[in-house]
Symmetry: C2
Subunit: 358 residues, 2 copies
């Protein structure tokens, strides 16, 4: 099949599967691979870790920006990050794929190549899947992992006085998306690539578990929102040190400036102090609320030698009691924040992503 | 939340999850349930079985016919059947759900109830999921199972002289769909229900494995097509005995007659011999090519006492060599059929479902 020109609707399901199968990654944990009613996967310690995540065209990616390869890469990585966040190593994936008939077959084989490239470093295999037609592309991936005999690292184990540590990039994906959205992609291809093909620090998850992490999660919806989830699950609060993200803030400064200029208007004589403040605020927003970098946030007992590439970014503090309202029972107290930045309630413009309220 | 009136777009993702979570089935194999980055599931014999299947609105179900409950039930059952077809018992499911904002919240909670009802008899739990907005409903389920220390029953193990046996209904789902399609649903609600909420013989899978089944698969795309898959995977041929399906053929006769009449025209004096022949042919087509009953087709060594509810429906024969073409190399031989019915190549009107060629 000359897949460069053929559309999905011009092929049969069996021909399409025959084109995809040889591209899928294989792995050592696969006991029975694709082609039967089910696959069989090894679970050496008598347990397996499982998570599922879905990507939907025009909700999670725009076809004019993301190739099939990019979508396959991202679908795999956002799932693999959920396994790493438990302290586990990925073993296997299954993929349900909904595709419209007007899609080129090359887009679909590109997706298979992107899945394979994302899985290659960890040795995870695609062991099964399902294919359907539909108006929009939907990629639903389920991923499985092996804890290697260790206990899973949950969100709920953080203890007061623990160090909060982060591994991975912060805000790069959000900055890359903003550049694309402002037609400024060529200005910083590295940030655009961070959005299109995120690179979560997958090996850091098992390393954190091995170093005694008390809690961990994957940052998919933004630092403030996900840190709040960890804090609430653990019954504690988290105070973040914005200065710990200086490297990311500096890295994003030029992109923030360009996006700010594109949003206009500036003073006629060039950017003034107000504009510079707005640029810094934008970079700060990307770092605090940008999603989809899929870095890992973990807590460790104070004094732990942090495994690479974790860096201390804050500390676990006691959950403050609610501030008493001035007007008695009829005037309920505002909830105390589960996350503070440099000791204060954060004033970011967004607090992460909600699918239904946007 | 008064879910009867609220639409998905009027709620937040967290509120929606809070409405769904209490409805999901729980199970004994769940070590860490929903709410963390991943779930953790027990795999007592050091392996797990996994399969995934997707349902897409207007491709696999029509919202005017299927309730949320029906879709949840069907999404679970078609996946559970893939686990049974390996000879395994289901332990856990994860569900990726894409829903449009105009859907009532009650539809979504109905789907959760349908999942739970379908999982109840086998004790399988929903241990995780993902939720996204999208224009069409998409339900992607991944299911896991436990082999209980036995080897998986593959499609490829059938041996010449084995008995071919079937468990479950044949053609009921196709007949129910045809009734709905002809606005004849009230004529036979049991057949309509068989389409809307299939009842695969899940316990028959492990029973077949325990009785020494040499090969097995789930009949999701029709008897002829799926029997052909088993035959090709095993390097054999299958001869089916249509008379073994007499019970199903009789059960479908009235529905076939009604659909045939609705398709008209009939002779002015009522159905004549040609019409009766057409009705019988339609029932035969439903039995041979109708999909989605999710019965199990298995092969057993001759003389095996078949476990309930399996019935012998044919036998495994040697794959015939291709019929030599009359014209030499330029006139390739037609492929010998992998499946025959009463010793002859089947002449059904359809041979099962292809998503992209319809």
């Amino acid at each position: 099949m000359n897949e460069g020109r053929v559309l999905v609707r011009e092929t049969s399901e069996e021909e399409l599967l025959a084109a995809i199968f040889p591209l899928l990654p294989t792995g050592a944990a696969t006991l029975v691979g694709p082609g039967d009613d089910s696959a069989v996967v090894s679970a050496p310690d008598g347990r397996f870790v499982v998570s599922t995540d879905v990507l939907v065209e025009r909700r999670h990616f725009r076809p004019e920006w993301s190739t099939g390869y990019d979508v396959g890469w991202r679908a795999a990585m956002q799932n693999l990050a959920d396994i790493a966040a438990m302290g586990a190593r990925p073993t296997s994936l299954v993929v349900s794929l909904v595709i419209p008939g007007h899609l080129p077959v090359a887009w679909v084989t590109g997706l298979a190549r992107g899945l394979a490239a994302a899985c290659a470093p960890s040795g995870a295999a695609v062991v099964g899947g399902d294919l359907s037609s539909g108006d929009d592309v939907v990629v639903a991936v389920t991923v499985h992992g092996d804890l290697g005999g260790r206990e899973p690292v949950l969100r709920s184990g953080a203890q007061v006085s623990d160090v909060v540590a982060h591994a991975g990039r912060r805000g790069w994906s959000a900055a890359g998306l903003a550049l694309l959205d402002h037609d400024l992609g060529p200005l910083d291809q590295e940030l655009v690539d961070a959005y299109l093909r995120p690179e979560p620090p997958l090996a850091a998850g098992p390393a954190a578990a091995g170093s005694g992490a008390t809690a961990m999660l994957d940052l998919s919806d933004g630092l403030l929102r996900d840190a709040g989830r960890l804090a609430r699950a653990s019954g504690v609060a988290v105070d973040l040190d914005l200065g710990a993200f200086r490297g990311d803030l500096d890295r994003l400064a030029v992109a923030a400036s360009a996006v700010r200029v594109a949003d206009g208007p500036l003073s006629a004589t060039g950017p003034g102090p107000a504009d510079l403040g707005a640029q810094a605020a934008l970079a700060r927003d990307w770092v605090l609320t940008g999603g989809e970098d899929h870095g890992l946030l973990a807590t460790f007992p104070a004094g732990t030698s942090l495994p690479e590439p974790f860096r201390a970014v804050g500390r676990v503090v006691a959950r403050p009691t609610s501030v008493p309202g001035a007007g008695g029972a009829a005037d309920p107290a505002p909830a105390a924040p589960a996350v503070t930045v440099d000791g204060e309630a954060p004033r970011a413009h967004g607090v992460g992503w909600d699918h239904f309220r946007g």
